[in-house]
């Protein structure tokens, strides 16, 4: 970003922070992956030692016992679709909250953000009722709808700020050119909000990718099962099997990270290529 040379001290400090960030972020995942190759007694007895031998038996077993490919496909479809829907509808609302005034705006915004604080158990029963009434129990569509509702507060927070920081002169110029409301939103504001859309999209996607409770409650059949539900099966207190649990966990985390990195790369490229900044 900056061509000027920075002082050595600043560079050192910056690299130290970056290194620290990498360590605290990768340590847990590395530990999980390494542990998935160890026996239960080794995990519990000497948790930071390296595995004595590399065996993919746990992976093979987990993979043959459960249809991870189906779950992976389901997770991908559900998390992606719900994220796209969520980002779209909250972008519409975020645009209004960021750029327009109307009666009751603040109250409405607070109401929307309260959703962050409504405890999960209180939502379980009403959501279950709605999904049943819409005849969407045990369908991917049901989960997509519910997930789209989750990110409301987070997405609105991010997108409101994003749209707020897009200068109004651009809108006014567009009005003079005779552009309508939709055109101003779609062709002027949305392209400039790309990175905000991407940020909220990524955060929502990862949250959906990991969601466990509703996936469990709202689906029953194997055909609609997602990865975190499968992980739930390995989290049994009395028959603890950490090797399998970590193998299953690895199979959930790694695709999540890969998808995220791919999307991130795409998004950054498109943000960079659009080239317009404020």
């Amino acid at each position: 970003m900056n061509t000027r040379t920075n002082s050595l001290a600043e560079r050192l400090f910056s690299y130290a922070v970056m290194l620290f960030t990498v360590i605290v972020s990768t340590f847990p995942i590395v530990w999980i992956v390494v542990s998935s190759f160890k026996t239960n007694k080794a995990i519990l007895g000497d948790p930071f030692a390296l595995p004595s031998s590399i065996s993919f038996k746990a992976y093979a077993d987990v993979f043959t016992q459960y249809n991870f490919l189906i779950y992976f496909k389901n997770s991908l479809i559900i998390a992606t679709t719900s994220t796209l829907i969520a980002v779209f509808i909250y972008a519409l609302a975020g645009y209004i909250f960021g750029k327009f005034d109307f009666f009751g705006k603040n109250v409405l915004f607070i109401l929307c953000t309260i959703t962050l604080l409504v405890p999960g158990y209180a939502r379980a029963q009403p959501i279950f009722t709605i999904v049943m009434k819409l005849n969407l129990y045990d369908t991917k569509t049901g989960l997509v709808l519910v997930y789209a509702s989750f990110g409301m507060a987070l997405a609105l927070f991010i997108l409101r700020v994003t749209f707020m920081s897009i200068p109004k002169d651009l809108d006014e110029a567009a009005i003079i050119d005779g552009a309508g409301f939709w055109r101003i939103f779609w062709h002027v504001n949305l392209p400039l909000a790309k990175s905000g859309l991407a940020t909220s999209g990524i955060l929502l996607f990862l949250a959906n990718w990991n969601e466990y409770f509703y996936a469990l409650v709202l689906t029953t059949s194997e055909a609609n099962r997602t990865l975190p539900v499968a992980l739930g099966f390995f989290n049994e207190a009395f028959s603890y099997n950490y090797t399998y649990m970590f193998a299953a966990l690895t199979m959930i985390i790694i695709p999540g990270i890969v998808i995220y990195l791919l999307v991130q790369e795409q998004v950054q490229q498109s943000v960079a290529s659009s080239g317009v900044k404020g």
Partner: protein, 291 residues
């Protein structure tokens, strides 16, 4: 520019969000607020009991006081150190040092790890016997160091804090996002005026991303207010009730089929959260445009 057409558009743009709000949130919100005043087991019919749940929640023993005290300090730490760290990383990423993309990618990884696994990892890290922290400290010469992190009085607060302290990637992303949106001309003008690197960061970039920082604070503090797993799965609120927070009190209600009590706790939680949002909004003047 606000004519009748615009009003319609505003309504249309808000409609899907309102629909989601109505379908998925209004009923729970109303249930929480109203049944907080009832004796309700979660499946039978609720019976009005006035402020009983609130009295029980707040005055029965010192747990509520402890929970609020913890919440206060955790919120403070979240708003300062946690958000501060996230912001710092964003500013460093913005400089574009070698490997910044990698750091940004890697920072996101903890978001994909489930809470149960997370708690287990941290319990092992802080384990006295085999954990890295204590062994490291003992290696450094303090051979008598045997703090039982999650299970001893002042330590457990900090052990719980460490499970989330450095994981501020969402703050980093939001702030970074805002940094990227700063028009180049502003920097060029400042450079022409002879401003140095530090001055640009301090007097131009920082104020321009205040909305992002404010958002980060709101998100991180509400995460502390509504946070459950990071405590429940590590210290369990203990030793005693040392690391309790409101959600654990709420959970006690659920375990005992006291949904009225739980919802009273939830109401307190929502009110606290909204107050924090309003306060931050005011302090950071977040409704005002920055440019």
């Amino acid at each position: 520019m606000k004519d009748k057409g615009t009003k319609w558009w505003i309504a249309i743009f808000l409609a899907p969000t309102l629909l989601v709000l109505g379908l998925f949130y209004i009923v729970p919100i109303i249930t929480v607020f109203t049944t907080g005043f009832t004796d309700w087991d979660g499946f039978g019919s609720p019976a009005f009991n006035g402020l009983d749940n609130y009295v029980n929640l707040i005055t029965y023993d010192n747990t509520f006081f402890v929970a609020i005290r913890n919440l206060f300090f955790w919120s403070l730490i979240a708003a300062t150190l946690h958000v501060g760290f996230g912001t710092l990383v964003a500013f460093i990423l913005y400089k574009g040092y070698f490997g910044w993309r990698f750091v940004r990618g890697v920072f996101m990884i903890p978001m994909v790890i489930s809470a149960a696994a997370w708690a287990m990892i941290y319990k092992i890290i802080f384990n006295d016997d085999i954990g890295v922290i204590n062994n490291l400290v003992r290696q450094l010469g303090f051979s008598g160091f045997h703090v039982k992190w999650f299970f001893e009085s002042p330590a457990s607060f900090w052990a719980v804090t460490f499970t989330w302290l450095f994981y501020a990637v969402y703050v980093t992303l939001i702030v970074y996002n805002d940094l990227m949106a700063i028009p180049k001309e502003i920097h060029e003008a400042a450079l022409l005026d002879g401003a140095g690197e530090w001055q640009i960061t301090r007097y131009i970039n920082l104020p321009l991303v205040k909305n992002a920082i404010g958002t980060g604070i709101i998100l991180s503090v509400t995460a502390r207010i509504a946070g459950f797993e990071e405590v429940a799965l590590t210290s369990g609120g203990g030793p005693g009730n040392e690391t309790y927070n409101i959600t654990l009190m709420l959970y006690d209600g659920l375990v005992n089929y006291e949904y009225g009590y739980a919802n009273a706790a939830a109401t307190v939680m929502i009110i606290l959260g909204v107050s924090v949002m309003l306060l931050i909004n005011r302090v950071f003047k977040m409704n005002e445009k920055v440019y």
